[in-house]
Symmetry: C2
Subunit: 327 residues, 2 copies
């Protein structure tokens, strides 16, 4: 039995809380948003998850139990990771297993979120968990695979043990940089597939956008010395597939509304949750420019989000010069 | 303007006929099934395609125009390719562009279909075309990408030119073996995702089956000296994505019925068209055994098709020892 402290009470943090509680860990869920905790304590429900949380899960506004926890999970929107990491820094120590499940690249520094947490907390060997994992399905015990990535593979293996005998099957990977790049930028490709669908295009071009989309993330990753197989793995193409084809995906939905002709603000409002792909766009464009990497799909999404006509942009993308698949 | 002779009047052959006719090629569609040709001449429709064929397309029971055609496309179910190739052999010559769009591996010989055609006709440099290309979408002019694969890249480039100014965007690839392996075996993975969905599982595990499914096809391909990037390409993961997630996919549908508990025969009957994944299974198992390649998902589908309980098989698959994603 481990004491698990989850920072963030969004759908993914809550789904993980439910799974880890179900195998008798002591689970504490914390949020800085006080009304979120009040609501959870009152109803023991979240409107997006089809589950009632067991009384053995603690919902709290206090960081008190953090110091004595064995496992700490960052499950907050990407843009808050640096602040929260700074906030909790004094409560963490090197014996704890620190896991990040937020996905993003910081715009100003181009750091991955595990790097941000490391910088703010001075803890080494943060583990990033990423994969095709809709919270809605995990919450109702549907089987799911995920990657635990860490330069120190022993830490990744601790995550395998943590989730043993649950519906979550964990694969390990030492290429944390590649895993985090995929996690951040797949949401942009999901915006692209949503836009294409909203515009009236079909499954053929959606599959092409997914395939060529991960190819451009891979191109960036290989330049940054990531491992090729990461991009073909569960946190790479796997996560992208579920994000770009599933009815649960917020990024895909948001893109769909944009493709239908709604404004960005209207589209975000209709989704009603954080759309990480929009947050990740500036960092992706900065990296493409800085390292001179050809990322035409991400560039097209960026152009559309900044007002360029959807039809013109898609057709320019389709009419690039023909080329070989093998680079 | 080219003279294009299409062998086979199924949905894919007809969709290609429509596209090539639309840019003013002389298109002739042939079938050995006489009533198929009679029906097409009478109605100029196919029940699965939302299109009326132009009068400029010729539907014929005769091979007469084959000798003088510039382009010949094999668009027939995989199991008939050897017979038809033998049948038309005397009508073909080395100046023609010969394209195979059928997908499969011959069970007895473990040859790809381009190899079968080459053997039967003594024509070199057959091109295999493969990718995420539902005929239903191509027929209504939705944009689509595809790979033209040939050891002789000039022949592949002829296909690029053939489809220029259509909604089909062609990428080239010299790794024809890899392209054909993917085309044949992706249908088995689509059966697996269908089975999982029919059994009640969700999008998370579907994405995992797709990701780990192409990983086992890649493993086989790398052993046979194929190019790694083929498996991450449009004819690899791209085609698998559309086959395993699209409502148009027969293999996915057939798997869905199997997962729901219908017999194999009932499931095939409900799909009402050729289910290539079932045809490809024996060859896949033979190759896995012959070359000693670990292909657990394909093996699981084979077991289920041969009567093993769906739930037990899926759970055995999910409870294999944990491992690293990087091989």
């Amino acid at each position: 039995m481990k004491k698990v402290f989850i920072l963030g009470a969004g759908t993914w943090g809550l789904a993980l809380a439910k799974i880890l509680d179900s195998i008798n860990n002591k689970v504490i869920v914390y949020s800085v948003i006080e009304k979120e905790i009040d609501e959870l304590n009152k109803t023991r429900k979240n409107k997006n998850l089809d589950v009632i949380f067991s009384n053995t899960i603690t919902f709290t506004k206090s960081l008190e139990e953090l110091d004595s926890s064995d496992v700490v999970i960052f499950a907050i929107p990407s843009i808050y990771v640096r602040n929260i990491a700074g906030l909790v820094s004094n409560h963490l120590n090197n014996n704890q297993l620190i896991i990040d499940v937020a996905k993003g690249i910081e715009e100003d520094t181009l750091m991955t979120l595990s790097e941000v947490i490391e910088e703010e907390t001075n803890i080494k060997d943060i583990v990033a968990m990423s994969g095709p994992t809709h919270a809605e399905e995990v919450a109702i015990n549907l089987p799911t695979t995920i990657v635990a990535a860490c330069k120190n593979i022993n830490k990744a293996n601790e995550v395998v043990e943590l989730f043993r005998n649950t519906i979550i099957r964990v694969y390990v990977n030492e290429d944390i940089k590649g895993v985090e790049l995929c996690g951040a930028f797949k949401n942009i490709i999901a915006l692209a597939t949503g836009i294409s669908e909203g515009y009236g295009y079909g499954d053929n071009i959606k599959a092409a956008l997914i395939t060529r989309g991960i190819a451009e993330i891979r191109r960036l990753g290989l330049f940054l010395n990531c491992h090729e197989q990461t991009f073909s793995g569960l946190s790479g193409i796997g996560d992208l597939i579920v994000t770009a084809t599933s009815k649960h995906s917020r990024n895909n939905c948001c893109g769909y509304y944009i493709g239908k002709g709604y404004s960005i603000d209207e589209s975000i409002k209709m989704v009603g949750m954080v759309v990480e792909g929009l947050n990740a766009l500036p960092a992706a464009i900065k990296m493409a420019n800085k390292y001179n990497i050809d990322m035409p799909i991400i560039k097209a999404v960026y152009d559309i989000v900044n007002g360029k006509d959807v039809g013109i942009t898609i057709n320019e993308l389709l009419n690039r010069p023909n080329k070989s698949e093998i680079e």
